[in-house]
Symmetry: C2
DNA sequence: CCTATTTGTGTAATTTGTACACAATCTATC
DNA sequence: GATAGATTGTGTACAAATTACACAAATAGG
């Protein structure tokens, strides 16, 4: 840490700008989507970009992320988690901008984003069909967020933040499959979920073409806290 | 992201300062230690603090971390990884300072830190006996780093960055035990390590009071990359 | 009432984790 | 130089978890 006051003689003009950018995920039609806004001004005019903006001088970082997200898209009360800080000097052609990236999860049934005076267009894109390239280094940030979401899914209850309040086991399984990108065994998946005692039956069913599926909700006391269960053994040689 | 140029009309005086702080870990006498420097000036005069300092306007964040670490302690060529960004408005009493925290790992046999004109005193402290409180929010940052190190140890080869080039299996096991804070079974540990094919026998032995231990080095092709093996199953209910 | 479809449960085979015993190799001591 | 003590290294039986797959249950449609 700065250990002399001389450090504070750095002229304010020499200070970098600090922004927050938010990667918002949701599920739509059983596919993982991310929210992008279309830029109206240069640089990267007409390109799609992550929502975000400048951190105010007296504002905590996560609060800045929530504020910018609501201002630009209307989304609020989302699950929010800091992702990584991107600070390459050339990432913004205008000036030095250091961006603290966040990722957010929203239930699709809950809110619909809207444009604002700051954004000409706001849209959900399937993460498998993003408009490329995005503005700035937002491609990189988004990839980073997808990787993080995928790996945290295996040892947290993050998936629940993407589902409606009430859902079926097949829907939960499909959520996992969508994000992990692989098929899971129904029997093993159901057993693991039930052993973790995360769910509470609602007592109703939902039709689905065959046998109706029972509806569940999450047990409130399990909502918070990061770790609840591990879907399966980490794969040896995963990242190669 | 900022999507109008008006955002850049924010006066530079309204910009926060950005620093990097580095939590440096090493092993000394088989205990995990962290490097602190004593502050010579207010605020927090005479308190111990993490090494760190201001990010220059045209400098990548990780480069800033390496530069500050070398300037303040002389340590260089360390393993470095971004940890988290701390941005509470009140964390520095003078002005808004956003700190991108890093954690670094060094082999104790390799380098010894020295003071500089910026630091009156530099010392390794066992993480179990830190001088408290530290300056700023550095207690929090350090706890955060220890937690991260501990959890990453279970699915990465980070422990290797703390050991000398050449080491024995008992030494490796002790490193894991120190950081995880629990005893491991020798037989099971050896088997896991050997199955992962991470090590290469050097062909020599080191005396240790009883039967000498064989020396190993890491296989170069396994040095990089994050994931290599998982020491063991994640503990259910870990974070509660 | 039969078939197709989807949900939900059961179970055998395999793999992995755990606990602990025992052999091997050195030092120290008498 | 024999023996005890200490530490490294290997083997193995048992428990637990994972995997793969079979089968029963519940509904719709013809």
């Amino acid at each position: 840490m700065q250990n002399t006051d001389t450090a504070f003689e750095i002229p304010a003009s020499q200070r970098p700008a600090v922004t927050v950018d938010i990667v918002v995920f949701t599920l739509q039609e059983r596919e993982l989507h991310s929210l992008l806004i279309k830029r109206s001004y240069p640089p990267f005019q007409e390109r799609w970009a992550l929502p975000g903006g400048f951190v105010k001088l007296d504002e905590p970082l996560d609060q800045a992320a929530r504020r910018e997200l609501e201002e630009e898209t209307g989304l609020h009360d989302v699950y929010l988690e800091q992702l990584y800080t991107f600070g390459e000097p050339s990432r913004d052609p205008r000036t030095r901008v250091i961006s603290v990236a966040y990722f957010a999860l929203v239930r699709a049934d809950q809110q619909t984003p809207h444009t604002s005076n700051e954004s000409s267009e706001v849209r959900w894109f399937p993460v498998r069909e993003l408009p490329q390239p995005l503005a700035f280094d937002h491609d990189q940030i988004l990839r980073f967020a997808v990787d993080r979401l995928r790996s945290k899914l295996e040892y947290t209850t993050l998936a629940f933040q993407l589902l409606p309040q009430v859902f079926t086991l097949p829907e939960l399984k499909q959520t996992y499959e969508q994000i992990l990108g692989e098929q899971l065994d129904r029997g093993n998946f159901y057993r693991k979920i039930k052993e973790a005692a995360l769910l509470e039956p609602v007592g109703q069913v939902r039709e689905s073409g065959g046998r109706p599926a029972a509806l569940y909700r999450f047990r409130a006391e399990r909502r918070e806290g990061d770790f609840v269960f591990r879907w399966r053994e980490a794969r040896i040689e995963r990242d190669r």
